[in-house]
Symmetry: C2
């Protein structure tokens, strides 16, 4: 009997306000499910010692970056300290073609750009249990003074008001439960009818 | 700090062709997650010895059944050996109000009726890996002769062609994996933005 047609990998995006804990959550998703791929950014920043092309970043000149932007190859981008950082489309497609899911960690403004440029992405918003808890987490980092924390919190409030643009809200209350929810969303999305087109034809002919 | 607003339970429906294994799968879902409620049918059949009202069935006269049907209280119904069987709306709502998810086991034609009568239901179609495997499972039951099996298989083919009306397709290849998928779908649906309206307001005000 021939094999069931292999499903293409899906593209997931996890976003949320600064301090909510995206990095920790994504690290734990990858630890529990190592086959999940992450996207590698393109940057115009010069490589630092030890940084490898295609592993840490794709390093490009500003001219190359601009050209890729014009070609629609960059799903979202930002400028930080004079350097551009962007999310390239082709490597995602290649990983999805291999059947691997891709999980991206993207800022809220970046997520809105991705939604515009790439319709087939599953958007998840990582939500703090309360604003008080978000303030506590920002304070615990301890690297910022009070005014920076208040500034981030203000930005966070604005971003939480954009949560309605996301398909899923994931409350980040406790790491294991949070990661359980994200893995459930990833598994459930694979069962959606639209993701399994052609399955009936396969079943009926085998 | 006040509690996060408790979410209403969700209504899930698992359907699929005769022989695919709905009963076994639902039993295993309930074993692994006992808090999931099931719907109790209304019937016009007289109670058998030991059957308890509200546990095995809600027993009603044909006149009462007809009245409930007219009132829109019955989401789907069928006639079997001269008796009516139907799925009542109010007990589902009551369980959902208590915060319990409800998982219904309903035939494919019944599911289509539920979809028409109740918009807020998550429809899952349990799919055999192949038609050959569905035939094997029907044969293994051993209670039916070949012509009954072929009749069921024909009906199954027609039902598989209705899978496009369902939101999720769950391949029933291996019991544990199948139940994993169903639990993932149930968990993921709870994270959908529409299910969590009011969460942003809660987070921002606490």
């Amino acid at each position: 009997m021939s094999e069931m047609p292999r499903q293409r990998g899906l593209l997931f995006c996890l976003s949320g306000p600064s301090g909510v804990g995206k990095g920790t959550v994504i690290d734990e998703v990858r630890r529990r499910r190592p086959q999940v791929a992450h996207s590698i950014s393109i940057t115009t920043r010069p490589p630092r010692p030890g940084e490898i092309e295609g592993v840490h970043y794709y390093f490009r000149t500003p001219e190359q970056f601009h050209q890729l932007l014009v070609e629609g190859e960059i799903l979202e981008h930002d400028n930080y300290c004079g350097n551009y950082y962007g999310t390239p489309r082709s490597p995602l497609e290649a990983m999805r073609d291999e059947g691997r899911d891709v999980l991206m960690d993207i800022t809220v403004p970046g997520s809105l750009a991705v939604m515009e440029n790439y319709s087939d992405v599953v958007m998840m918003f990582l939500m703090p249990p309360t604003l008080t808890e978000l303030r506590n987490r920002l304070n615990k980092r301890g690297t910022e003074n009070d005014s920076v924390v208040e500034q981030r919190l203000l930005k966070g409030r604005i971003e939480i008001n954009k949560a309605n643009l996301f398909k899923y809200l994931v409350i980040n209350d406790e790491l294991t439960a949070t990661v359980d929810r994200i893995l459930a969303i990833m598994d459930a999305e694979h069962c959606r009818y639209e993701r399994l087109k052609g399955l009936e034809a396969f079943v009926l002919s085998h």
